[in-house]
C-alpha cells in the first residue's frame, strides 16, 4: 500500500532510466538524508557521534570502495586495511609537509596516492584470478603494514612510530585533532561520504560500471565483446582504492585521532569485507546496512548486560562479542547469501503488491 506504484507512468526513456523511477524511493532517500543532515546531529550525544554515527559512515565508505572492486568488478581483495593505511599516511604527510592545506582537500587528495598503490597491486589481477588473487592481495596487506612500521619518514621519525593528528582548522573552525568537536567532524565525514556515494552510484550505472559488471560476470566473454580487460580491471582497482584511501584518511583524521601501523592490519580488512558481504556484494545501499549492523552490534551488545543489571567482565564480554559476530555472519549468510540489500529488495517487492500475493 505504501509502496504502490500504480499511476506512475513513464513517458520518456530518460524518466525510465532515472535513478529513482519510483517516487517512494526518492521520498525515502529524502527522509534518510534529512535524518543524517539535520535530525541526528541535533539529537545525538557526544557518545553517539563517537561510537555510532561517524564510524558507521566511515566504515560504509570503505565498504563501498571494496564493493566497487569485489561486487562490481569481481576481483576479491583482502587488502582493504592496508589501502586505508596508505590514504591515512598520505594525508598525514601532506598535512605535515604543507600545513596551509585545506584539510578536506588533503583528505580527498590522499585517495589519489592509495589509488596509485592500488593500481600497482592490481596489475597481477590481469593474470591471476579467484582465490589466487585474493591471497595475492594479502601480499599488499602484509607488505604495506610492514612498510608503515619500517619507513620512518612516513611518521616523521616519531619515537612512538605512530601518527598523531594535529589540530587543523578550516575557516576558523577546528575540523581535526584533539580540539575539534565531534559534530564538526561528523559533518565533514557526512559531506565527503555523500559526495563519493553520489559519484559512485553514477559511475556504476554508467559505461565504466557496465564494463566492470561484464568483467565480473565472465571476463573472457567480456573480452570477446570488445571490453579492454586491462582498462576495466585497473580502473576498478584505481576507483576502489581511491574511495578506500579517502575512507582511511577519514578513519584516522576524523575519528581515531591517532594511528599505529597495526591498526591497518588484517582484522580491519576483514571487518570491511564483512560489511560489504553482509550488506550485499554489488550494491551501494548494502554497504550502509552492513556497516550499521557490524558497527552497531558491538555497541548494542556492550550495553545490553548493564541495562539488564548483569555484571559481565569486559574481557569476557569482548570474547562473547567476537563469538556472536562470528555466528551472526554465518546466520546472515544462511538466511540471505546475497546480503541485506537483497532482503530489502524482497521486502520492497512484497510491499509493492501488498495485500495481493502476486
Amino acid at each position: 500500500m505504501l509502496y504502490r506504484t500504480a499511476g506512475q507512468f513513464k513517458t520518456s526513456y530518460r524518466a525510465d532510466q532515472a535513478l529513482f523511477p519510483i517516487k517512494q524511493d526518492a521520498f525515502l532517500l529524502g527522509v534518510i538524508l534529512i535524518c543524517a543532515w539535520v535530525v541526528f546531529p541535533l539529537t545525538a550525544s557526544e557518545f553517539t557521534f563517537q561510537t555510532i554515527l561517524t564510524p558507521i559512515l566511515i566504515y560504509s565508505l570503505a565498504a563501498l570502495g571494496l564493493n566497487i572492486l569485489t561486487g562490481f568488478a569481481g576481483q576479491l581483495s583482502l587488502g582493504t586495511g592496508a589501502f586505508m593505511g596508505v590514504g591515512a599516511y598520505a594525508c598525514y604527510k601532506m598535512i605535515t609537509l604543507m600545513p596551509w592545506m585545506n584539510p578536506v582537500i588533503a583528505i580527498l587528495l590522499s585517495g589519489v596516492f592509495s589509488a596509485g598503490v592500488g593500481v600497482m597491486f592490481g596489475i597481477p589481477s590481469l593474470r591471476i584470478k579467484g582465490f589466487y588473487l585474493a591471497i595475492a592481495t594479502l601480499a599488499a596487506q602484509f607488505f604495506l603494514v610492514w612498510l608503515f612500521e619500517k619507513w620512518a619518514w612516513l611518521y616523521n621519525y616519531n619515537a612512538s612510530g605512530a601518527i598523531q593528528v594535529p589540530n587543523l582548522d578550516m575557516f576558523g573552525l577546528y575540523v581535526a585533532g584533539p580540539q575539534a568537536s565531534s559534530m564538526t567532524q561528523y559533518y565533514v565525514v557526512l559531506f565527503i561520504v555523500t559526495l563519493l556515494t553520489y559519484l559512485c552510484i553514477n559511475l556504476t550505472r554508467g559505461n565504466l560500471g557496465r564494463t566492470w559488471k561484464a568483467t565480473r560476470d565472465m571476463d573472457i566473454a567480456a573480452e570477446l565483446i570488445g571490453i579492454n580487460l586491462m582498462k576495466s580491471k585497473l580502473t576498478a582497482f584505481a576507483v576502489s582504492s581511491y574511495v578506500v584511501g579517502v575512507a582511511g584518511a577519514l578513519f584516522v583524521f576524523m575519528w581515531r585521532g591517532a594511528a599505529e601501523p597495526n591498526l591497518f592490519d588484517i582484522p580491519l580488512s576483514f571487518r570491511v569485507l564483512f560489511i560489504a558481504i553482509i550488506g550485499g556484494l554489488g550494491s551501494i545501499m548494502g554497504n550502509y546496512l552492513g556497516a550499521i549492523l557490524i558497527v552497531g552490534l558491538p555497541v548494542v551488545l556492550n550495553t545490553v548486560p548493564s541495562a539488564l543489571g548483569i555484571h559481565v567482565e569486559s574481557a569476557l564480554l569482548e570474547h562473547l562479542n567476537i563469538m556472536i559476530v562470528g555466528s551472526l555472519i554465518i546466520f546472515f549468510l544462511i538466511i540471505e547469501p546475497h546480503g541485506l540489500n537483497q532482503l530489502w529488495r524482497l521486502i520492497r517487492e512484497k510491499l509493492t503488491i501488498w495485500p495481493f500475493p502476486h
Binding site: I135, A136, K150, I277, H319, G326, I329, P337
Partner: protein, 319 residues
C-alpha cells in the same frame, strides 16, 4: 656499488664463510616449512573435496592445541587428553557440516569463504572464553616427546638440532605418507578424490556428500592437532598462533590450491627461503621482520608466471 655488493656479493660470502650457520638457518627454515606444509595440507584436503577455501584451518590448529592443554590442566592424563581432543575435533567437524555447510551447499565460493571466516571468529571467541587468552605451555614431555638436542659439528662449526624439531619432521612425514596411502588405497580415500573431481558424478555413483565432508573436516582436525602440538612445543599455545595460518596461504598459492605435493614442496620452499632471506638480506638491508611479507611476494612473483601455482591443475576456461 656498495649497495650492489651488499645485495649480490656479501650474503653469499657470508654463507660460504660460515657453512654451519647456513645449515642451521636451513634446518630452522625446514622445520617451520614442515609446519606450514601441514597447515596447507589441511586447506588442500578441504578445498579438493568441497571447493571451500577453509580460512578456519589456522584457528583449528590453535583450538586443537588449546583443547589438549586445557584438558590436561583439568587433570586428564596426556594420552587420554589426546583421544578426547580428537573426539572434540570430530564433534566440531560434524557440527560445522550440519550447521554451516549443509544450508550453504551450492552457494558461490566467496560466500562459503566468508562462512569459514565466521567459523574462525566463533572459535576465537569460544576458545578464549573456555581456555583463557594467556600463553600456555604445550605438554611436550607428558606426551613422551624427547626435549633434548643433538649437537653436530660439521666443517668444524656448530649445528644444534632440537629433538622436538626432529620429532615434528618425522611425525609430519609419517602423517603425509599415511594420508597419501589413505587417499589412494582405501575406499573412503577414493571417494574423497572422486568428490573432488566432480561433485555430481560422485553423487550419482552413490558417494555421500555429507559423510565425506565430515570425514574431510575431521582429517583436517587431526592434521590441526598434530600441527598444534608441534608448533605449540616451540612457541607455546595461544591465539597468537593464528598468524601461522597466514603463512600457509602463500604456500597454497605457490604450490597450487589442489595439490598435496604442491602444499608440501611449497611449504618447505617457503620455510627455507624466508629464513634465508630474513637472515642474509632482510635483517641487514631492510631493517628485519621481512618474514611477514616475503612468502607472499615470492608466491606473487611465481604466480605471475604460473597463474595456477607450481603444481595446481591447469585452469581451463570456456565461455
Amino acid at each position: 656499488m656498495e649497495i650492489l655488493n651488499k645485495i649480490f656479493v656479501a650474503p653469499f660470502a657470508d654463507m660460504i664463510a660460515a657453512p654451519d650457520f647456513l645449515m642451521q638457518v636451513l634446518w630452522e627454515g625446514l622445520v617451520s616449512g614442515v609446519l606450514y606444509a601441514l597447515i596447507a595440507l589441511g586447506f588442500v584436503l578441504i578445498f579438493r573435496s568441497s571447493r571451500i577455501f577453509n580460512f578456519a584451518q589456522g584457528i583449528m590448529v590453535v583450538f586443537a592445541a588449546l583443547t589438549l592443554v586445557g584438558l590436561h590442566e583439568m587433570g586428564v592424563p596426556a594420552w587420554i587428553a589426546v583421544a578426547l581432543t580428537l573426539a572434540v575435533m570430530f564433534g566440531l567437524a560434524v557440527s560445522i557440516e550440519r550447521i554451516v555447510l549443509r544450508p550453504l551447499v551450492g552457494q558461490p565460493d566467496i560466500i562459503l569463504f566468508m562462512a569459514t571466516i565466521g567459523i574462525t571468529l566463533f572459535l576465537i571467541g569460544f576458545g578464549e572464553i573456555i581456555f583463557g587468552g594467556e600463553n600456555k605451555l604445550m605438554i611436550t614431555s607428558e606426551l613422551g616427546i624427547p626435549t633434548g638436542d643433538f649437537v653436530l659439528e660439521p666443517f668444524g662449526g656448530l649445528l644444534i638440532l632440537q629433538h622436538i624439531d626432529i620429532t615434528a619432521v618425522l611425525v609430519a612425514a609419517a602423517l603425509v605418507v599415511s594420508l597419501l596411502v589413505f587417499l589412494n588405497k582405501t575406499r573412503m580415500g577414493r571417494a574423497i578424490r572422486a568428490l573432488g573431481d566432480d561433485h555430481q558424478a560422485a553423487l550419482s555413483v552413490g558417494i555421500s556428500l555429507q559423510t565425506i565432508w565430515v570425514l574431510v573436516w575431521f582429517i583436517a582436525g587431526i592434521i590441526a592437532l598434530v600441527t598444534g602440538i608441534a608448533w605449540g612445543s616451540r612457541a607455546g599455545v595461544s591465539f597468537a598462533l593464528e598468524v601461522i595460518a597466514y603463512k600457509a596461504l602463500p604456500v597454497l598459492m605457490l604450490g597450487g590450491l589442489e595439490s598435496i605435493t604442491g602444499a608440501i614442496i611449497g611449504g618447505l620452499m617457503i620455510g627455507m627461503l624466508e629464513k634465508m632471506f630474513e637472515i642474509y638480506w632482510g635483517a641487514p638491508l631492510l631493517g628485519g621482520n621481512t618474514e611477514s611479507w616475503f612468502a607472499y611476494v615470492l608466491a606473487l612473483v611465481v604466480l605471475l608466471f604460473r597463474p595456477q601455482g607450481l603444481f595446481g591443475e591447469k585452469i581451463i576456461e570456456r565461455v
